[in-house]
């Protein structure tokens, strides 16, 4: 039954004539927790095109994290197909998935997940090591990526010497360093105060608009989803609503209206 629904389902939003960057066809995901089977996704079909900025929304348990893991090639659907850039990744081996994660995807996490006691530059270099780039090329790309998030002057700082917002910018630089086609951000502002959150959204919006980077953003905060172009709402493992964000916010315009917080002021280190 689910298949027949999927087959007849039109992509609700977007231009169906263009080939989609991401296409999910009736994706199911079930976890075996001993005797109980938990259905995290129950037949999700959707398309995301190049250059989109999509917010994936839903309460915890809605299946949005599972969707993110599948989109990020960290997990495979139990049923259904996931086409990334025309390739059916649901059939690929672990090594091939690692290669796709390395080249086509960039991850940004809520916890930043930077390696401690490793400089910002080396953190950003990490994906290029697994790509097999030469050391000079690695450094050059990492410096470029840090420049894109405005942290060139912090290349030699350790994560512990950076503010939360700066750490998240390093993480974004790390996600960009292999020039992926998709940036997957899982609650990237979850650990940040509201002003810093908007700053991060500003970076994502700029990357999306100026460089055409496809951004998929998982969030449960409505005001963060307001910065996306399109919002997908999940509930009980199903896509419930797919709509274009009305009154989309532009972070650049919102920023001046927010008060400058104490810890966001220029730190004394920079002055010297």
């Amino acid at each position: 039954m689910a298949e027949s629904v999927a087959a007849t389902m039109e992509p609700p939003v977007g231009v169906p004539t263009r080939s989609a960057l991401i296409r999910l066809e009736n994706v199911h995901k079930a976890y075996n927790l001993g005797e109980v089977q938990v259905h995290a996704l129950r037949g999700v079909s959707l398309e995301i095109h190049s250059g989109e900025f999509v917010a994936v929304m839903g309460a915890s348990g809605s299946g949005k994290s599972t969707l993110m893991n599948i989109l990020g090639c960290l997990d495979r659907p139990t049923r259904g197909h996931y086409f990334l850039d025309g390739t059916d990744v649901s059939a690929l081996s672990k090594v091939e998935l690692a290669r796709i994660r390395n080249r086509k995807l960039g991850f940004v996490f809520q916890q930043f997940n930077l390696l401690s006691r490793t400089s910002a530059l080396e953190n950003v270099e990490l994906p290029t090591i697994y790509r097999g780039l030469s050391p000079p090329e690695r450094e050059q790309r990492a410096r470029e990526a840090l420049e894109r998030v405005g942290l060139s002057d912090r290349a030699d700082h350790y994560p512990s010497q950076l503010s939360g917002g700066q750490q998240q910018r390093v993480a974004i630089a790390r996600a960009l360093v292999n020039r992926p086609s998709i940036l997957l951000a899982d609650e990237p502002t979850g650990n940040l105060d509201s002003r810093t959150s908007v700053e991060i959204m500003d970076i994502l919006q700029r990357l999306n608009e100026e460089q055409g980077l496809t951004v998929v953003l998982v969030t449960h905060e409505h005001d963060i989803a307001q910065f996306a172009k399109r919002a997908l709402e999940f509930r009980d493992g199903k896509l419930r609503r797919d709509r274009i964000v009305p009154h989309r916010q532009v972070a650049r315009e919102v920023l001046p209206t927010l008060p400058l917080l104490e810890d966001e002021k220029e730190d004394p280190q920079e002055a010297t």
């Binding site: 994660r101 991850f107 997940n113 390696l115 994906p127 090591i129 697994y130 790390r174 292999n178």
Partner: protein
Amino acid sequence: MDFWNTLRLALRALARNKLRSSLTMLGIIIGVGAVIATVSIGQGAEFLVQQGIQSMGTNAVFIAAGSNRPGGARLGSWAVKTLTLDDMNAVLREVPLIREAAPAVVGRVQVVYQNQNWNTGITGTTPNYFAIRNWPVEAGSVFGQEEVDSAADVCLLGTTVARILFGEENPVGKQIRIGNLPFRVVGVLESKGQSVMGDDQDDRIFSPYTTVQRKISGITWIQFINASAVSQEASVAAVPQITALLRERHHIRSGEDDDFFVRTQSEVADIAQQTSRVMTLLLGSIASVSLIVGGIGIMNIMLVSVTERTREIGVRMAVGATENDVQQQFLVEAVTLSMAGGLVGIGVGLVGSALISNFLSWPTLISIKAIVTAAIFSAGVGIFFGYYPARKAAQLDPIESLRYE
């Protein structure tokens, strides 16, 4: 990811926890050091034994009166009267594998020089005895065949006897008393040290066998024959021929026990070397237990490290590390730990055996083989004990790992 990157990564990870890394390495250091020190001690012992066997003489064949068989009433060399000089001459005549032979008649005597006296062993023999046993004189000379024929009262001293009776004085030409008889010292033998059995071979005096037979023991037979074969193989091959000949001469019927026994140097050498080799092996294997314990230490610390770095592993996998990359990273870390420990351990082992030979005056032989084996073994320990933690790291689920607190 290429090897140099992996190695750099491993070194950095180890440098981050210097105390922990060095304590982990300590296990391997002690293990490798112990293996090298004990093996060099064992090989020193083997060297000592070999030296002792060399002192028996070249291609030596040793015939003794008395039974060597267990069970029954056995008589020692002193009580068995059947071995004679004629037996020796028959062996020389009829067993061509035997090149030379010297008889030996032994006893214990009290020797006196001026106010010094000493209880020692006396061996009565012929001049070729010293050639057969590779035993040169240090001063004076060996008595001659004429002295044997005339049962002359002459003697040669072992260095121990010479030192006790004469101190710094030169004994050659001096008169000593053996029992009640005056003997002239014709020479002093070079020191031969301890025998394989551990007794002092220099605590002994030598006279013509005729003199000992007639004037000291009052016997007509001999107790031992020290023979020398034409080659090492011949010494072994001669044993059954000698046995057959002597049985025939002694009229021993089949089924009856020999009243003599024949030993070769290579036989004794084999037994002695086997003993010392077993000792080396035993010491070495006890020491390798500590190497294994060191390996378990590495495994333990690597497991802790994998757990602590679960998030890091998750991040690495998310940005494109394959299972192989992660496994290699942790395996190289474990091998780096164990190899570094192995290298330091080799140094400790060398210093340790140098100290032992210095302070315990025990010869130690450093063998390159032991060093190379220890180095390879320590790398092997790293691979063996590092494999499981590395595999565990590689099989972590990236999603779970990223969420790990």
